[in-house]
Symmetry: D3
Subunit: 224 residues, 6 copies
Amino acid sequence: MSERILVINPNTSHACTAGIAEAVSSFNAPGMPRLEVMQLADDEGPPAIVTWRDWFAVAEPLCRTIEREAAAAYIIGCVSDPGLEAARTVTDRPVLGMFRCAVAAALTRAERFGVVGFTWRSEQRQRRALQSMGVEGRMAGWVPLDLPMEVLTDPVAPQARIAEACRRLAADGAEVIILGCAGMARHVAVAAEASGLPVIEPCQAAAAAAQLAVIGARQPALTA
Amino acid sequence: MSERILVINPNTSHACTAGIAEAVSSFNAPGMPRLEVMQLADDEGPPAIVTWRDWFAVAEPLCRTIEREAAAAYIIGCVSDPGLEAARTVTDRPVLGMFRCAVAAALTRAERFGVVGFTWRSEQRQRRALQSMGVEGRMAGWVPLDLPMEVLTDPVAPQARIAEACRRLAADGAEVIILGCAGMARHVAVAAEASGLPVIEPCQAAAAAAQLAVIGARQPALTA
Amino acid sequence: MSERILVINPNTSHACTAGIAEAVSSFNAPGMPRLEVMQLADDEGPPAIVTWRDWFAVAEPLCRTIEREAAAAYIIGCVSDPGLEAARTVTDRPVLGMFRCAVAAALTRAERFGVVGFTWRSEQRQRRALQSMGVEGRMAGWVPLDLPMEVLTDPVAPQARIAEACRRLAADGAEVIILGCAGMARHVAVAAEASGLPVIEPCQAAAAAAQLAVIGARQPALTA
Amino acid sequence: MSERILVINPNTSHACTAGIAEAVSSFNAPGMPRLEVMQLADDEGPPAIVTWRDWFAVAEPLCRTIEREAAAAYIIGCVSDPGLEAARTVTDRPVLGMFRCAVAAALTRAERFGVVGFTWRSEQRQRRALQSMGVEGRMAGWVPLDLPMEVLTDPVAPQARIAEACRRLAADGAEVIILGCAGMARHVAVAAEASGLPVIEPCQAAAAAAQLAVIGARQPALTA
Amino acid sequence: MSERILVINPNTSHACTAGIAEAVSSFNAPGMPRLEVMQLADDEGPPAIVTWRDWFAVAEPLCRTIEREAAAAYIIGCVSDPGLEAARTVTDRPVLGMFRCAVAAALTRAERFGVVGFTWRSEQRQRRALQSMGVEGRMAGWVPLDLPMEVLTDPVAPQARIAEACRRLAADGAEVIILGCAGMARHVAVAAEASGLPVIEPCQAAAAAAQLAVIGARQPALTA
Amino acid sequence: MSERILVINPNTSHACTAGIAEAVSSFNAPGMPRLEVMQLADDEGPPAIVTWRDWFAVAEPLCRTIEREAAAAYIIGCVSDPGLEAARTVTDRPVLGMFRCAVAAALTRAERFGVVGFTWRSEQRQRRALQSMGVEGRMAGWVPLDLPMEVLTDPVAPQARIAEACRRLAADGAEVIILGCAGMARHVAVAAEASGLPVIEPCQAAAAAAQLAVIGARQPALTA
């Protein structure tokens, strides 16, 4: 029986896709819905979703991918949830956005969350997602890293900046930290130590939410 | 290594505890944090949490249980999240409330949720939890079953009433249904069919949220 | 001196474009910024923006059009404001969305507005725009026409339905009516008479807002 | 045909009235509703609306003026919208407040606005108007000039202070600037340059909103 | 020592003033601040505050009265709080509005209140007061009596209508009833019996709030 | 006739109980409902309510006390309103929480309040009460004293810290100060002088609210 959860990275970075796959790998267990990660073809997506224009542009290739690839649930693998509403119109299976899943996970842990953003350019998009969830008022702060890509992807280089951002969010009243980009999964421990707070990694938050959605829809077993 | 997630049913009903255990059983998989369900001793908790007085009274035995029972995370096994704040002061491990987890899961699926309540008496407590999450405005409706316990626990008898409640919530604008009591887990399919909407079962929502919390805190592995 | 305000209809319906042009024609006066209306090429846009997928898909051709066509300000000629955020990244001139302009105009007239929608499919998109403006709570009601296109575009046929929708919105507490689609401009009088309320036509609301933006940026004259 | 829009300055300052007339003059064009500016008689209004007592006191002379002077629409020419609700009860023509029009115009341009106030005394009144519009939460900041009148009315002297206020509002997250007093119309360019943001001048915002209201009510032409 | 609390009825109805005096009489006790009730002179106020124009017009005579009459605190004796902000600028003693006091008292008893209004014309004014308090969202309903004055002032005639309004508010979710006019003080028992809910009478609510303000400012005694 | 208002201090500190009694003594006047203050037995309550666990634990002894002690109204004598909802289920008489009463009193005086807290540990509990009242957004600031108990209970020692907290709240926009602990009643004058603002003492606020509730329920007299 196929209970595949398809994570679609809407950019064309193999490193990014590999990072997502590593982050969600702990959730692949016997009997649980299985997570698979893919990315858009090189001529379909941008190297990274940086601008609002990128954000709009990937909706259509995401829809086409979903139409082509059968799955029990889909995760849009970018922490600004691009194309989510469009994707939901082309399948009757659950489609989840990583940012919404991370915010929801944060709300199970505390009242006020802080977000470590990738660049200042993504704040407005994440605010929109918060508005659609109705929880914009619970964001204690949003602090961007604004680091060059070569620093961000280095395993060690961005740690000081991430720690600083987390300390600032804690000082501003955050009670839980959301890593606002799929590329920070390796830095959960740094963020937790610097802030003294629980840390939500969005790839994992989406993995858990998607497994819940798939298991919750195993209806015959439940009603037997 | 012990990654036990302890679900503590704050009432003394063995049937209720068994129902929770059944609902979360799908989440027990090799390599995933393991869910165990227990209940308060007969002289510590009420047969059911019906009143605000019950709600307050179980906080202390919940705290004592947590102090006594080591675990990687705790779930308070009642869908009005009794004693949650107190429990969080006696451990540094994650403590989760089933209702908050269900609401958070609903927010990953849609903007407006409806709640099928157990009795009218629990609405005010669930509203308070929504207020603490900041999302009271996203509740499209709250419809109680108000059935006698012998009907509610029958495998078939409450289905007509659950279906009716779900249809009404859908008509009132709900886009996702939350089952507002741990005892409705067997009726997910009925609720889904009647409403045509995704259905969130709170025991499962809490199981997924707790697994995420435990896996997310496996820090050495992530930073290695 | 060129003070062209370019209204870009993101669908490919010539009838729709002509209707917008007629609605804004009263604002073309000597000395005022001049409104011009165009539409996407047949291979760039859909016949109408019906789904979320359409909504995302027109962002890219809108951006390309703006890059190609110099203007003092741009209006996105569809009452769900598609591509607005993307369009704003490709020009430093004002870019306005018809729905936001109509809502803003309504707020100058009263506290609570009602919206006559085109089809039920557009409600969610208009709600999102209200959320981004922060005024979702001021919508007294949203009533769709849900008429076949041939009825909607008839000069007389949709009047009964529009009147009925306006009466219902007034009964629900609306103090001003917003026509939620660019194709209802000919029915302002019907809506006003049925409701007894002021009526905001979105093409005109956007025309006035764009003229304000352009005149307000005539800085040398003001500071001389 | 008379399509006069009457702007009633509720104070008795001829300089203030002249400033309003200059600010709105760009909107007087052939075929467009014509803006005329008048002021209260010397024994009816205060030299300036400084206190809440002034704010209440001008309602009655505003009502009497509107009863006496036929017009297609009225603008209350003070950026704290005094007497607006009273004025609306004495005519069935549109009556607009300059502050509400400026805020509405700001919302067509961005999500978060900042206000440059005249004196600290007007903040509370402008907050009330924001509350009645439902958008108090979208104000990023409110910075008063608190300058002596002779400085404020000098063509050059207040520029440094205005620039400083605009820079501070931009730093606090404003995405658009509202000039919170009718007497700053000559300083739009200074505000725009200092902040790097769009600037809304309230006299002009009200002029555009009133023209929209009058043109939108030209019903026979639209339905013919 | 003078601890007079002056209740100023801003209309010129002796019957209304007498009704307020009767309602507050229970609060006149030895050692407590003493409540005195007066009304505006016949040439200063309207027979009743019915319109927004009345509401604005009484601000100035209220200010003059306060300037003339020394007191330890002032109550504006009308349940739409006219002139409150102006009155606060002419004295450094507490000035209280009856409606705000009634709403505050309701919030000490329950989460959601319903208001029985005098006429539909006062709803908008009371909403504004709720907005300024930030609690508009807690109003479960607002039901006007809309009775002719001769019915309203009859000791028995309005009871059926009051009872009906209270029942409807209870059905709409009100947990406490506010009588929204100073002239309903004799009908507290009817309202309580019909609704089964606590009832707040605004004259009494203001009396208690004013006594608290005066006693709380007896600073020397407290610090001795 | 017995119109006793029973204030139940849920801790076992005689000094605290005496302080409450002193604070409310001004409200005991002939003809007014009489305030009596008691405390939980030494084996029923904690020395002070410091943690969430304390907060939950006192609900049950408060309920038992209310069941045992007849009164016309009850006040829970702790400024985090512990057990309020439970207490309301065991009596049909009014039960009031000191913090909610203080917040309500503040709202009769101004729009934005600041709270001087006892320790940082109580902020979260007071925020929850504000959420249940719907006015969390009106809190301009919350500043804890965080003083050792021997300093706090000294008649002079805490004054500097209280004054500093009040000045900071005023600077943050508070227009009225709430003393967030029953043990600061002697410092009202210090707080008022430091802030230049009205000060609400919660024991007195609850006394006034309870007298209003009891007098308002003297129904036969009113309807005779």
